[in-house]
Amino acid sequence: MTKADESLNHDVLIVGGGLNGPALALALARAGLRVAVIDSLPLVTRADPGFDGRAYALALASQRLLRALGVWPRVAAEAQPMLEIKVSDGRAGEGPGPFFMHFDSAEIEEGPMGYMVEDRHLRRAFLDAMAETAAITQYPSATVTAQDTSGAVARVTLADGRVLQGRMVVGCDGRKSGTAARAGINRQGWPYGQTGVVCAVAHALPHGGVAQQFFMPHGPLAILPLKGNRSSIVWSETSARAKELVAMEDADFLDALRPAFGSFLGQIRLEGVRFAYPLDLTLAESFIAPRLALVGDAAHGMHPIAGQGLNAGLRDVAALAAVLDEARARGEDIGAPAVLRRYQQWRRFDTATLALATDGFNKLFSNDNPILRAARGLGLGLVNAAPRLRRGFIREAAGLTGELPPLMR
């Protein structure tokens, strides 16, 4: 019999109500745990359906997680299936190079490799799903000023003086995680000197569900299909150049984009505004501390080159939910080191490998060295010519490799 139950208002305190936080809250509520979700922004701001140009490439495994959490039906109508991915080496003014890789979901039996979903739809769907879940209490417009995870309960103090108690705290608060900082977890970071310029364009011709990735000398350019004749652009450039691109008039920006973009989608025009995200690789030295775990960018921020940021975060979510669910059913203390270590063992190696792989990939492609250009052209051609290797890449892109948590199967 648990006598502390009366004083414990929650089992798990989640800091961060972006995407990973709500996904974890829903997964834990399904496992019978009572969850608090703390976010500094008010609900109306987070639910704002205005289009800000951001979109995510949800891998198939991530889509399965959303389906299991009851979130998928809320965004399905707005999701664009990614049927093919084309990767090629390009040079400004020349368009795509002669060598390319082509991944077609028709080659694997699982269906599309993933879906493009806009941030605004996903955010709204998560908020609606949380509002309908009795085991989740939201603390919007709430800033965490202190946390104490050293004892048998975890405590989080909010700016208004309220103190929340739980068995553990989970930091889903991004690459500048205050939760990690307060726990004294150091991070290692490698700045790329690149900035991602993100926006959406409308185009005259249909994209056919094809995602394009061009490796340009200063960084990759991704053209990702959205619903209708629209695409999301993620253009990585040197930080100085990115600053110029964001500051430009729309017409000038389109003039700068066109040579790289090519003409295969016809006339283009901008939709919404442009955002700039400085790109860097960050890795928390530990994903756990006593009564504390880090999820998503709080644990590992990676290059968006392969669209793996949110997918890696959702994998953390599914893995942590599986570990905590199993522990709860055994009667273990969910915040105990024995339990949290299982999460760390499951996820840390995976994500460190992925972060370093995307880093290496980016370094290999983000330069104009003629020898490297020839070598990577050859590499792309070779991968494209080898069906087994190609199917491996397709499964990796769909997030179907490695030990899948139950919610993603």
Partner: protein, 248 residues
């Protein structure tokens, strides 16, 4: 429980807290128990849930069940049982374990009745339980037959008795004594006496003689590559466990 701990002096409490920390240190001297514990708990919880038709998805699935853990040590099994809602008595013949287990339960916000006593003494006092956990004890007792008779007396009609121990063969000698005590130094030398190990057939016979119906036997198998334990249907060669029912 707090009344019991409040009567001891602060220096004693500090000592017990240090010992509790040692018991619950994953990398400390009870590391082998911690490594095995999830696997033991999976087995125990699934057997209890099946026998008493409990839904493990509910908040306190073992509510209303009275559980005894014999040889409770620092409370590695008692605390999970209490967290699942059971009313738990932890018994240990080693007096020093009792205050240690109490301190940790209090820190964890759990109510557990820890007693310095033996199975025989509890049986003599007429205590009865829905579930008796008898994990890694029978290989240490002087007279297994008398000991299991006491366990039978402690199990109410229709109740469960879950008993794990170590098989006696060349492999168990290599793994449990040479491996765990001498090579890995997981356990102090002399922890186990190989001649006291019991084969599954012998244990089944002893349990039947004590008046139990044996329902299930499984192995606990150590995987040195994954460095973890799992439940095995067939491999009873070293660590194994049985579930028996006291006839109703």
């Amino acid at each position: 429980m707090s009344a019991a701990t409040n009567t001891v002096d602060p220096a004693e409490v500090a000592k017990f807290e240090a010992m509790a920390a040692e018991w619950w240190d994953l990398d400390g001297k009870f590391k082998p128990l911690h490594m095995m514990n999830p696997c033991r708990l999976d087995y125990i919880t699934s057997q209890i849930a099946a026998e008493f038709s409990r839904n493990m998805g509910s908040a306190a699935p073992f509510a209303g069940l009275r559980v005894l853990d014999i040889g409770c040590g620092g409370g590695l099994l008692c605390e999970p049982m209490a967290r699942l809602g059971a009313t738990v008595v932890g018994a240990d013949a080693a007096a020093r374990n009792i205050p240690v287990a109490r301190v940790h339960a209090e820190q964890s916000g759990l109510t557990i009745d820890y007693r310095h006593t033996t199975a025989e003494a509890l049986a003599d006092a007429g205590e009865q339980f829905d579930v008796v956990l008898n994990m890694e004890v029978v290989e240490h007792v002087a007279d297994p037959k008398a000991y299991l008779a006491a366990c039978r007396a402690l199990t109410r009609r229709g109740g469960l008795h879950i008993c794990s121990t170590i098989n006696r063969n060349a492999k168990s000698f290599g793994m449990a004594i040479l491996g765990a005590e001498y090579v890995m130094r997981w356990l102090p030398k002399g922890t186990h006496e190989w001649s006291k190990f019991i084969t599954p057939d012998e244990l089944t016979a002893l349990l039947r003689a004590a008046g139990f119906n044996v329902l299930d036997t499984k192995g606990f198998q150590f995987n040195p590559l994954l460095w973890s334990w799992r439940i095995s249907d067939r491999d009873l060669s070293v660590n194994y466990v049985t579930t028996a029912r006291a006839p109703s």
